[in-house]
Amino acid sequence: MRYGRTVAVVAALLLTTTACGGGFDDEGGAAQQSSGPADLKVLIASSGDAETKAVTDAAAAWASASGNKATVTPAQDIVQQLGQAFAGSTPPDVFYVDAARFADYASVGALEPYADKVSNLDDFYPNLRQAFTYDGTVYCVPKDTSTLALEINTDLWQKAGLTDADVPTTWDQLTAVAQKIKAKGVVPLAIGDTRDRVGAFLVQNGGWWTSADGKQATADTPANEAALTYVQGLLKGGLAQYPKQLDTGWGGEAFGKGKAAMTIEGNWIKGAMKADFPTVKYTVHELPAGPTGTKGTLSFTQCWGIAAKSRYKDQAIKFVEAMTAADQQLAFATAFGVMPSRQSAQAQYTAKFPEDAPFIAGVAYGHGPVNAPKMDSVLADLDTGLQGLATGSPKAVLQRFDKNAKTALGG
């Protein structure tokens, strides 16, 4: 009797489950398109109030000029919020997509491949377009870019008896100046303990974690091993330290606090230094080149993604076009310190911010993040290996990455 009742209850619950499932089912096919005035939902991963305000103002200007509506929402955690929105079939129409996550979204069909409908697509830097290419198709256009460069603390530099002529342009020179700085009891270099900093040395040695199309793992090569061995030498010799060892959250903080004479960070460090350490004097230089003279840095970028399920795709493309116009990119650059992704905006940008020349130079030869789906946990595992690089074996780190990446890439 009692047993029978339990079965009835469970059956009722199962029915509720299926009913629920039907509740947020979707038609599965292409989303119904609406013409006329659109109500665009824009989700951004804002770096701060300055960015939120600039994007909101630009969106409002576009909306009133074009007779549409655009609501900009800054995300707390855009990966999670987008994940929930896609699962519920109600994604925002336009949203930021980080290059490191792009392939995940593109591979599951969440993104609309609209890039060929944007005017003058070739004007965007080729390596940035490559970062948003999946299976040979450019999906979305980059909104801006950032690159890594070498920052040097002027006071600590002079204290070590170094001059402008000593700014390192090769690995050997970097080691040499680091030893001089260390002799004065100062930590020479603070470098982030992730692939997003250490990876630059691989590029300088002509290597990379994966093949250009992102389909093969190519970490275990002599060039990559040499690059990691060089970084390991810096760490072992006390010439470089990870920010955590210096009791700081990132390289810029260690640098601003004067705990390290040099750091390798991107152009976002400008804003951080201005806000947190306004009195610290520093200069910016291109990263030193590898043994073969190869210049290399990493570039970071986000694109304006348009949801495949958006009802206002045409209007959304027009919105993105307005946001990525050269003069609008320059306005964003002024407001929150990013660099334009259009080559036609470069001359004006360099004229306006001459001190950013090393960052701008890096855009031309910068390498984007690993562009393949399902790689997040593999890359997190790689970071774990890099954290233990000082005591570990570079070859083991690379082999482990290859093994895990092969499984994830299915090749």
Binding site: M1, V9, A12, L13, L14, T16, T17, T18, C20, G21, G22, F24, D25, D26, G28, V79, Q80, G83, F86, A87, S89, D104, V108, G109, A110, Y242, K244, Q245, D247, K374, D376, S377, V378, A380, D381, T384, Q387, G388, T391, N404, T407, A408
Partner: protein, 344 residues
């Protein structure tokens, strides 16, 4: 349910009873049972997070998500087993420590000679009512390389570790300190063999230094709540029992061991069970303080489940991890219940 005959004078009571509990059944069903069943379904699929998981096109994976955690030699199993190892050491440290501390505090506060009981009771309970996120942030400062803890250690001549950057396991450190093994070159017998994706050397690491900081935090915050439970139980023990022991000439220790502790057995079971369940599910401290770093030594199944689902978009595997965790908790609780059973 003594009267199960139908048609009696109380025949309608059953219907009325069900009617009265309907709201609770509906609420629990909607917000507890249905989501659990939905998650169970997700754990059997390769749902990629696009649209509803109950559509027809969602690929059914069977038990693949579960076998991936146990039998396939890959990153998923390695991460999962690492998280299980971390959490097992964490539980093994937290549960006894917090129970002992809570019992000790309760005995102190229950002491009839203690002045200002209210003050101490509040002071000991205070960490439990503070937000765990806020406390976690404060502990981050205390355990930073130049923080309060390392300053104090410096006074007594100890060079404190870089707490949240230190992935070394304390068992390894202890073994190295007594000279049993060389930590920089561990014995090949342990590193070359292993089970379930981790070597014996990895399994035997003990909690990492970073995990120890989190253990200290959790013991400190939870012991207040359990102290209250012990205190309530202590105040229920009639004073005559203690006095009878006194008359029989029992020492203070004997009275605690043979009179007080046996009376606390039900509370002890409650505290151990709640402690076990809570510490297997540790999430917010990890999320705020370490995100699984350094070197995955603070990765726990609950955090791994979150990361797998929402970072890797591997919702099936993430849901599978949480169901395995659920099973672990159930099994351990049953074992504990058996161990603490009253013996005739």
């Amino acid at each position: 349910m003594a009267d199960s005959k139908r048609g009696g004078i109380r025949g309608n009571e059953r219907v009325a009873g069900w009617l009265f509990v309907t709201p609770v059944v509906a609420v629990l069903g909607l917000f507890l049972v249905v989501p659990i069943l939905m998650a169970l379904w997700v754990s059997l699929t390769d749902w990629n997070g696009q649209g509803s998981p109950f559509r027809s096109g969602v690929p059914f994976a069977g038990l693949d998500n579960y076998t991936g955690l146990f039998t396939d030699d890959g990153l998923a199993r390695q991460n999962f087993m690492t998280s299980i190892r971390n959490n097992a050491y964490y539980v093994a440290a937290v549960v006894p420590l917090q129970t002992l501390l809570a019992l000790g505090l309760a005995l102190v506060v229950n002491n009839r000679l203690l002045k200002g009981k209210g003050f101490f009771r509040t002071a000991f309970y205070f960490p439990s009512v503070t937000s765990s996120v806020a406390i976690s942030v404060v502990f981050l400062f205390m355990f930073s390389n130049s923080g309060a803890i390392n300053e104090i250690l410096g006074f007594v001549g100890v060079n404190g570790p870089q707490w949240f950057a230190d992935p070394r396991g304390v068992l390894h450190l202890a073994l190295g300190a007594v000279g049993l093994v060389d930590v920089s070159a561990p014995p090949a017998a342990l590193t070359d063999h292993g089970v379930l994706g981790l070597t014996w050397w990895d399994w035997s690491s003990g909690p990492s230094v970073a995990m120890c900081a989190i253990i200290a935090l959790v013991v400190w915050t939870t012991s207040g709540t359990f102290m209250l439970m012990f205190l309530a139980a202590l105040q229920n023990i009639p004073g005559q029992l203690d006095e009878a022991g006194l008359v029989d000439g029992a020492t203070r220790w004997q009275r605690l061991r043979f009179i007080t502790l046996p009376q606390l057995r039900p509370t002890m079971f409650l505290v151990l069970t709640l402690g076990l369940i809570g510490s297997w599910q540790v999430f917010d401290q990890i999320y705020v303080m370490s995100q699984g770093n350094p070197a995955k030594t603070t990765l726990t199944p609950a955090y791994l489940s979150y990361r797998t689902a929402f970072r890797d978009f591997d919702y099936g595997s993430g849901a599978a991890i949480s169901f395995v965790l659920f099973l672990i908790i159930i099994v351990l609780t049953l074992l504990q219940r058996r161990a603490l059973r009253e013996r005739p």
